[in-house]
C-alpha cells in the first residue's frame, strides 16, 4: 500500500463493506442470495452463419466506419498490397510472428523487435504507421481484438496516425459473444485486451465527426486468405 498508512485504508474498507451489509441485511462472507435476484448463466448469442461470409461482413462493417479492408491470397501477397501505403513512411511493427511470416519485419522503413517500453514509446510517437497483427477480429462490428503480450504491445496500434493490422482470415469470429465464449476470462492471460472498432473519433464540438483525435485516424485491415 502506498501513500497512506495501511490502517486508515483498512478502516475505510471496513466502513464501506459494513455499511453495505447493514443496508442489505447481509453477513460478512455470506454467499450471494439467489432467491429474489437470481444470476442466470450468461446467454451467448452467436449467429450460426457460414464462416466464409465473415470476411465480407468484417470488411463491410470496417468500411462503414471509414476503415479499409484489403483481402490478399497468401502471405506473399501482403507486402505488394501495402507498398503504396508505406511509401516514404516510417513504420513500427509489433513482434508478432505472423508479421515476420509476411516479411514485414524485413522492410527497410520498418522498426521492430522492441522489448524496452521507453524505446518503443519513443519509436511509436515518431512513426507514421503502426503495423500489428490481431488476436481475433469480430465480423459483426468490424473490430480488432488486441491482447497485450510479448508479441503485441499496446502502443503500436495507438500512437501512430495510421494503423495497419495484418491477420489470417481464420482469426475472424462472429461477434463479441463468440469472443467471450472462447475467452471467458481474458484477464487470466493478459493485463490488457482492447477491442478496436474503426478509427479514433470524436464528435465533441458541435456533434461534428472528426477522425484521428488521439488514436489513429486511418485504420487498414489486411486479411490473408491462406496462412
Amino acid at each position: 500500500m502506498v501513500g497512506r498508512p495501511k490502517e486508515v485504508g483498512m478502516t475505510a474498507r471496513e466502513h464501506i463493506l459494513g455499511d453495505i451489509r447493514r443496508a442489505l441485511g447481509r453477513a460478512a462472507g455470506q454467499p450471494p442470495r439467489m432467491e429474489a435476484a437470481p444470476l442466470s448463466a450468461p446467454v451467448m448469442r452467436i449467429p450460426r452463419s457460414d464462416r466464409n461470409l465473415y470476411t465480407d461482413l468484417f470488411v463491410q462493417k470496417l468500411e462503414n466506419l471509414a476503415g479499409k479492408g484489403i483481402c490478399v491470397r497468401d502471405t506473399a501477397a501482403v507486402i505488394p498490397a501495402i507498398t503504396e501505403l508505406l511509401a516514404q513512411k516510417h513504420a513500427v511493427a509489433s513482434n508478432s510472428p505472423f508479421l515476420r511470416k509476411c516479411g514485414i519485419t524485413g522492410l527497410a522503413q520498418v522498426h521492430t523487435g522492441f522489448t524496452d517500453r521507453e524505446q518503443l514509446k519513443e519509436a511509436c510517437a515518431a512513426a507514421d504507421v503502426g503495423i500489428t497483427s490481431v488476436d481475433y477480429a469480430l465480423a459483426a462490428t468490424g473490430s480488432f481484438v488486441m491482447i497485450s503480450s510479448a508479441s503485441e504491445a499496446r502502443l503500436v496500434s495507438l500512437l501512430p496516425p495510421v494503423h495497419v493490422a495484418i491477420f489470417p482470415r481464420s482469426r475472424i469470429l462472429a461477434n463479441l459473444d463468440e469472443l467471450l465464449s472462447i475467452l471467458p476470462r481474458p484477464a487470466d492471460q493478459t493485463s490488457s485486451m482492447v477491442l478496436i472498432t474503426g478509427p479514433s473519433r470524436t464528435a465533441d464540438i458541435e456533434q461534428i465527426l472528426v477522425r484521428g483525435v488521439h488514436g489513429p485516424g486511418e485504420v487498414y485491415a489486411v486479411i490473408v486468405d491462406e496462412e
Binding site: 464501506i16 444470476l39 499496446r154 463479441l176 472498432t197 470524436t202 465533441d204 464540438i205 488521439h214 488514436g215
Partner: protein, 464 residues
C-alpha cells in the same frame, strides 16, 4: 422551493443554446433508434431484461462481489483502495504522486471524478491534472462542468472553442473543427508522453476477473491507461458486474444507448499492471473504489435500483425537461432524469426539493433506459418523501389548517353548495390576483360551468 428560475428562464430564452441542445439530443436519439430497432437487434428487449437482472443481483450482493473483485485485482498485481469520500480518493493520489515525484497526471473522462471535484482537489496541492477527452479538455480550460454525461461540451460552438483555445493557450483564432481537434491532439500528445500518472474512470468493474472496462472513442483513455508508468482507476462501487461474460449484455447496450454505436471505437479490458513479458503498460495499478454516499442508496429496496445506471445518457436525450432547461440547471454533475433521482438520494431530499417535481412523468426515460430503471416511479417516491419532510417541518401549520377547514366545509353540504356557487363566480379572478397569479400565468384554466351538477340535477328533476 429554490428552483433556479432565472437561470432556467435564461436557458429557455437563449435561441442559440436551445438549438444546440435540440440538435444534439435529436441526433443522439436518431443514432440510438437506428441500432436498437428489432431488425438490427432482435434481442434488444431481452438484453435489457438480462442487464436489469444482472445489476439487481450484483447490487443486492454488492459486498460479496466487491470482495471478489478486490482479491482478483490483488492476484493480478494491482492494489485496491476503498475511499469513503472524494477527499480520501484525492489524498491517496496526492500521497502517491508525492512519493513517486510526479508533477502531472493525464486523465480520461470520468463522471465519478467530476462528482468529487478531483482535479480541483489535486490542483490545490500544485498537482496538475489534465483532462484529455476533447470535450472535457475544452471544459477544463473554460472552467465549466459537463453539460451532458456523454457529450460534455454539447452547449459550446466552434466559436466558443476558438475563444477558449486563444484565451487559455494563446492559440491562433481557428474555427475549423478539424483543425481545432488537431491542435488539441498536439498539445495533449505531449502531456501523455510526459505524465507520470494516468487516471481513468471505469464503465464496468468485473468481479471474476479483477478487471476494469473502459469504453471510449478518442483513444485518450487507452493512452491514459497505457503510456504513463502508473495507472489509477477511480470507480463508484456500484459499477460492478459479476463476470466478464456479462459484457456481452452490457457492451451491446451501452454504446447503442449512448451514441448509437454497436461498439465504441475502443473498449479496454484492463487488469492490473503489465505482466512479465508484456512490452508496455503501467508498472503499477491502483483501483480506487469510491462510496461518496452510494451506500446510502442501498437501504431502500426500491430506490436502490438507481445504482444500476451505466451512464449512457439516453434518458437525458429523451427528456423533454432536459431538452429545454439544459444540463447546467441541474444542481449536480448528473443531469437529466437520472440526475433527478440520484441527486436527492445523495444529498438528501431536503436539498433541491424542486428536482423530483421537475418532470412531466412522461416516461420516455424509463422506456429508453438500457437497464430498465423505473425513473418515473422513483420520482414519485421522492416527491412523497419531499412532501413528507415538508409536512413534518411545516411549523406554520397553514396547510394543515387549510385542510381542516376544507374538511369542515365539505362535510356540511348546504354550506359547501353555497360556497361552491360563490366560488365559481370568483374563479375567473384567480389567475389575476392572489398567490395563484404566478402559477396560473403559464396555464390555461378551464371556464367554470354555468351551473353546478346539483343545480343541473335539480333542474332536470323539475322539468321531469
Amino acid at each position: 422551493m429554490n428552483t433556479p428560475e432565472t437561470e432556467i428562464q435564461q436557458a429557455i430564452s437563449d435561441p442559440r443554446l436551445q438549438l444546440a441542445i435540440y440538435t444534439a439530443t435529436k441526433r443522439l436519439i436518431g443514432h440510438r433508434a437506428g441500432v436498437v430497432n428489432p431488425d438490427v437487434l432482435p434481442h434488444y428487449q431481452d438484453l435489457r431484461n438480462e442487464a436489469n437482472a444482472i445489476k439487481k443481483h450484483t447490487i443486492e450482493n454488492l459486498d460479496y462481489y466487491l470482495e471478489q473483485l478486490e482479491s482478483n485485482v490483488i492476484a493480478h498485481g494491482g492494489q485496491v483502495v476503498f475511499c469513503r469520500t472524494g477527499q480520501e480518493a484525492a489524498d491517496f493520489v496526492l500521497g502517491l504522486a508525492k512519493q513517486r515525484g510526479a508533477h502531472m497526471l493525464v486523465k480520461s473522462k470520468s463522471m465519478t471524478s467530476e462528482e468529487i471535484h478531483f482535479n480541483e482537489r489535486l490542483e490545490a496541492h500544485q498537482l496538475e491534472a489534465v483532462e484529455t477527452d476533447l470535450g472535457e479538455y475544452i471544459l477544463q480550460l473554460a472552467h465549466q462542468r459537463p453539460y451532458h454525461i456523454v457529450a460534455p461540451a454539447l452547449h459550446l460552438t466552434r466559436y466558443d472553442v476558438a475563444e477558449v483555445f486563444t484565451r487559455e493557450l494563446g492559440a491562433e483564432n481557428e474555427v475549423v473543427i478539424e483543425k481545432q481537434t488537431k491542435f488539441a491532439r498536439g498539445v495533449l500528445r505531449q502531456k501523455f508522453l510526459q505524465a507520470e500518472i494516468g487516471v481513468s474512470g471505469a464503465n464496468f468493474l468485473v468481479a471474476d476477473s479483477g478487471a476494469i472496462v473502459v469504453v471510449e472513442n478518442e483513444g485518450n483513455a487507452r493512452l491514459s491507461t497505457s503510456a504513463p508508468k502508473i495507472h489509477v482507476a477511480i470507480a463508484g462501487i456500484e459499477k460492478l458486474i459479476p463476470r466478464a461474460q456479462d459484457l456481452a449484455v452490457f457492451l451491446n447496450l451501452l454504446g447503442r444507448s449512448a451514441t448509437g454505436q454497436p461498439l465504441t471505437s475502443y473498449t479496454s479490458f484492463l487488469s492490473g499492471p503489465r505482466r512479465p513479458g508484456e512490452i508496455d503498460g503501467p508498472d503499477e495499478f491502483y483501483l480506487l473504489l469510491l462510496d461518496n454516499g452510494r451506500t446510502k442508496l442501498l437501504r431502500d429496496p426500491e430506490k436502490r435500483q438507481s445504482l444500476y445506471c451505466i451512464r449512457c445518457g439516453a434518458c437525458l436525450n429523451h427528456c423533454p425537461v432536459y431538452r429545454k432547461i439544459g444540463g447546467h440547471n441541474y444542481p449536480w454533475v448528473y443531469s437529466g432524469p437520472i440526475g433527478a433521482i440520484i441527486t436527492p438520494q445523495f444529498h438528501g431530499v431536503t436539498e433541491d426539493t424542486w428536482l423530483p417535481f421537475a418532470s412531466s412523468l412522461c416516461g420516455a426515460c424509463a422506456e429508453v433506459c438500457p437497464v430498465k430503471i423505473e425513473i418515473p416511479k422513483l420520482l414519485l417516491k421522492l416527491r412523497e418523501e419531499v412532501i413528507e419532510v415538508q409536512r413534518r417541518t411545516d411549523t406554520s401549520g397553514f396547510e394543515r389548517l387549510a385542510f381542516i377547514l376544507f374538511a369542515w366545509i365539505a362535510t356540511r353540504p348546504k354550506l359547501y353548495l353555497r360556497l361552491a356557487s360563490l366560488g365559481s363566480l370568483f374563479f375567473p379572478l384567480v389567475p389575476r390576483i392572489g398567490p395563484l397569479k404566478k402559477w396560473a400565468s403559464e396555464r390555461t384554466l378551464p371556464e367554470p360551468a354555468h351551473q353546478s351538477f346539483h343545480q343541473w340535477w335539480a333542474a332536470r328533476k323539475r322539468s321531469g
